[in-house]
Amino acid sequence: MSSLSSARLKRSIALHLFLTPLALIWLFPLWMMVVFSTMPDNGIFSPGIELLPHGNFVDNFNNLQRDTDFVGAIFISVCVAVTYTVLSVLLTSMAGWALARYQFFGKSAVVAIILGTITLPYAVVLIPQFIMVARDFQLANTWVALIVPPLFNSLGVLFMRQSFSMMPDDLFDAARVEGVKEWRIFVFVALPLARPMLAALCIILFLASWNNYLWPLLINSQPGSMTAPVALGTLIGLTKVSWGGIMAGAVMLTVPMLIVFVLLQRHFIAGIAAGAVK
């Protein structure tokens, strides 16, 4: 018995000896992001090794705001991400509900097409989307352009379909016997029951919109209409730019999401894992 537990102890030590350095390497870029954001530019570009935060964050932030209107860009990003999340949750849960709870003509075709788009590169739709939104609809540099085209997503619908189809039939049938309309059953019975799944979906969708880069880069390229990642991206590679400022911006984009991640870790992980495990 004691030899067994000492073998376990050895295995446990080996496990931690391997995993700890790996975890530190993985945390290192995030840690350095915070450190850089608190260092003056001449400190970032000095020969010494600096691994601890300084006190220069506010100056860096002011430099960033001088280089680009980052506060304005954050405002756009927040509004767009919130609107996008609300609309997208509504669309995907309605579609997921229909696919989970009704039998209808063309159902298997709809499911097959949604599944097919998972493996279709976004690049294929990018150019016509751009031509349509910018030239045909004349909507470049508007919030609508940022919110509406990305509303289609396939994993969200499959996730909601899965969530609704796991609910017992009797719940809904009882309401139907009472003569309750289908949309009321959806809103007042199904959605409240799906709250944990909706939370997971909200987080994933908000994050996707918050971090989205390529589409906003293309469609909202005017300075006053850029989202925060795009505004920050325009500074990377410029010669006369405050790198401490860029890092302050990176921290402002990242740290709120890290806090959300820590607080809602379970929902987060459920949302990501739902893609694969059916």
Binding site: S12, L15, H16, L19, W26, L27, P29, L30, M32, F36, I44, S46, P47, I49, L90, L91, M94, A95, A98, Y102, Q103, F104, K107, V110, T119, P121, A123, V124, I127, P128, F130, I131, M132, V148, L151, F152, V157, F186, L207, W210, N211, Y213, L214, P229, V230, L232, G237, G249, A250, V251, L253, T254, M257, L258, F268, I269, I272, A273, A276, V277
Partner: protein, 286 residues
């Protein structure tokens, strides 16, 4: 289940409408655009114009080569690493599990621009912390941005850092859905942990691993932000230019939509080929 066409489509319509306008039509449209000469006004139908150019374009083959090289090296390394993370995070012997999970999963929430900026700074030649640390343990500095091989390695390191934890989450969920009693029976039969991994975990997890691999391949195939921001528009001298970057340059810098659409459809063809391989790999044994 009830047959209710009208009700079902009422719930589906908004979603399908967005899908039709912003996906179905563009898929058709970009196929047609790829057969048009788009730098004349009006555009004219010229079937061989873009595709003919594509076949003889060294820039296309350079981008294709770089993309495939990243795919072939980065995806297997990342999936293997994600597997290691998932197995170890799943170990009952692990203490302070939450801290380790945070370390590996945190990159999932970090945006492409933010982490590209950090990696660029960390790997800079003279003042980058990575070269300083290499120097301090007696290794020579590496010029990550002016030579092709280190620049490609840097792209792969960055993508792996960003996505390994994401795949580990999916793999971990897959592992946790394998029933515990399978392992208990194996342990009673004195099957070693290592053998349990190779003969129980891996085979049962195969569909999940293939799913991760396909998602990663399709993501990496469209790689854009990292070579755009970290190695400065695919530098040095096109050494890290990817298909995604070529599409961006052709479509949105030169405004050559026809040629960019041909590049996009090449990516789609690769994706379809990879999906078919996936279906073949995960087919039900007869």
């Amino acid at each position: 289940m009830r047959y209710r066409n009208a009700t079902a489509y009422r719930f589906l319509t908004p979603y399908l409408l967005i899908f039709a306008i912003f996906w179905v039509w563009p898929i058709i449209s970009s196929f047609m655009i790829s057969f048009q000469a788009t730098r004349t006004v009006p555009w004219r139908f010229a079937p061989g114009f873009n595709w003919g150019r594509l076949i003889g374009d060294p820039a296309f083959f350079n981008a294709l080569k770089n993309t495939l090289l990243i795919l072939v090296i980065q995806v297997p390394v990342m999936i293997a690493l994600a597997m290691v993370m998932a197995v170890l995070l799943n170990s009952p012997l692990l203490k302070a599990r939450g801290l380790y999970r945070f370390a590996f999963f945190a990159p999932v929430v970090v945006g492409e621009v933010a982490y590209s900026a950090v990696f660029r700074l960390m790997f800079s030649l003279d003042f980058g912390i990575v070269n300083k640390l290499l120097n301090s343990i007696g290794l020579p500095k590496i010029d990550w941005f002016s030579n092709v091989t280190p620049a490609m390695a840097l792209i792969m390191i960055a993508v792996t850092w960003r996505w390994a934890g994401y795949n580990a989450i999916i793999l971990l969920a897959g592992m946790q859905s394998i029933p515990e009693d399978v392992y208990e029976a194996a342990t009673l039969d004195r099957v070693s942990k290592l053998k349990q991994f190779f003969y129980i975990t891996l085979p049962l997890l195969k569909p999940v691993i293939v799913f991760c691999a396909v998602l990663s391949i399709i993501g990496t195939m469209q790689l854009f932000t990292e070579p755009f921001l970290i190695t400065e528009r695919g530098g040095p001298g096109g050494g890290t230019e990817t298909l995604g970057l070529l599409l961006y340059r052709q479509g949105f810098r030169s405004l050559n939509f026809g040629y960019a659409s041909a590049v996009a459809y090449t990516m789609a063809a690769l994706a379809i080929a990879i999906t078919l391989v996936q279906l073949w790999l995960t087919r039900e044994p007869k």
